[in-house]
Amino acid sequence: MAKLTIPREEYMFPGHMGCLGCGGVLAMRYVLKALGKRTIVSVPACCWAIMSGIFPNSCLSVPMVNTAFETTGASVSGIRAALDALGIKDVNVLGWAGDGGTLDIGIQALSGAVERGHDIIYVCYDNEAYMNTGIQRSSGTPEGAWTTTTPVGKTKAWKKGPKKNMVEIMVAHKIPYTATAAISYPEDLIKKVTKAKNIYGPKYIHIFSPCPTGWRMPPGKSVEIARLAVQTCAFPLYEIENGVYNITKKPKKKPLKDYLQMQGRFRHLPEEEIQKMQKDVDREWEILLKKEEFTKSL
């Protein structure tokens, strides 16, 4: 008789509007298992603003507010300030936005919020494109990917340029805690969110949240693809606490091809492009190992 490896308590009701196999739903389910009932969630325009429920239904058992697309950082600042003004203690203030809402339109408010040092947790559930509006490219879309605004065509118009590295941008803000997580490793995810919960100040957690609809793959493969992303080092799992890097999953590296070929959004890639991407992943992984080694030695 196995013991559960993650908390049993649920803060999410069935019947939400998430697509089949949605990674972003699992991300929320796990984060709330770590944060618990005393949590207020601020959600901008994104998949989560819709799937959280259409009037009059909500799919969470914690208070949640929908806000304008650019405003998550500002919205959570307002909530924390009000809680402090009203003397309401031990409530987690959670900003919850997608890659577009975090890396693009919401980056200014996020930078402002963390620079001001508000006691908030900001989670970016990253499905690597504007999925709620039907899979348009964002700065979180990985190089080489098909989206409806990088439709490949005859001119190889897939997404060019590297995925914007939001984690490093947050590290540059010198906030107390930043981490990456993935829905395929809920134990690791929950451990990191719990750690963030007990640190005062701004915390940023970037959660890899596959979108079967947008990545052109069967819904049942969401968790498996998120596992492969970590095992191929396409999406490393690590945390940075006051500038010190700590890699929480050091896999026996699998070839990037295993990860790419399961997804329709990469199916068009010629061999030499895949090789180039493999080199990029290898190089980034080496840099990360060096960062860990170096910052731990200080």
Binding site: M1, A2, K3, L4, T5, I6, R8, E10, M12, F13, P14, G15, H16, M17, G18, L20, G21, C22, G23, V25, L26, R29, G53, F55, P56, N57, S58, C59, S61, I183, P186, P212, P218, P219, G220, K221, S222, V223, E224
Partner: protein, 94 residues
């Protein structure tokens, strides 16, 4: 529950949970769990995005699938270490 502006809360907010949404009607294939093969590791419960796999209090029983809400995404079938869950094409029962 609300019929018009006279009985609506003036702040646009929700009053109920999504549990009432029968999203089970979305699926075309449904997971069927074979109790013989199930080792009650509850990995299917862990990875279900619909919170539609029900486990008992003492963690002794084979998990039950809430077909009112399961969308048939097949993550559970994909993740089950014992391949105890099979995706079956939804038959046209009434």
């Amino acid at each position: 529950m609300f019929k018009g502006y006279k009985d609506l809360p003036e702040v646009p907010m929700t009053w109920d949970t999504t549990f009432v949404n029968i999203t089970g009607s979305w699926r075309t294939v449904k997971p069927v769990l074979d109790p013989e093969k199930c080792t009650k590791c509850y990995i299917c419960w862990k990875f279900c995005p619909e919170v539609a796999i029900i486990i008992d209090e003492e963690l002794k029983e084979v998990p039950k699938i809430d077909y009112d809400h399961c969308k048939g995404c097949a993550i559970c079938a994909n993740e089950c270490p014992k391949k105890a869950i099979e995706m079956v094409v939804e038959s046209m029962e009434e």
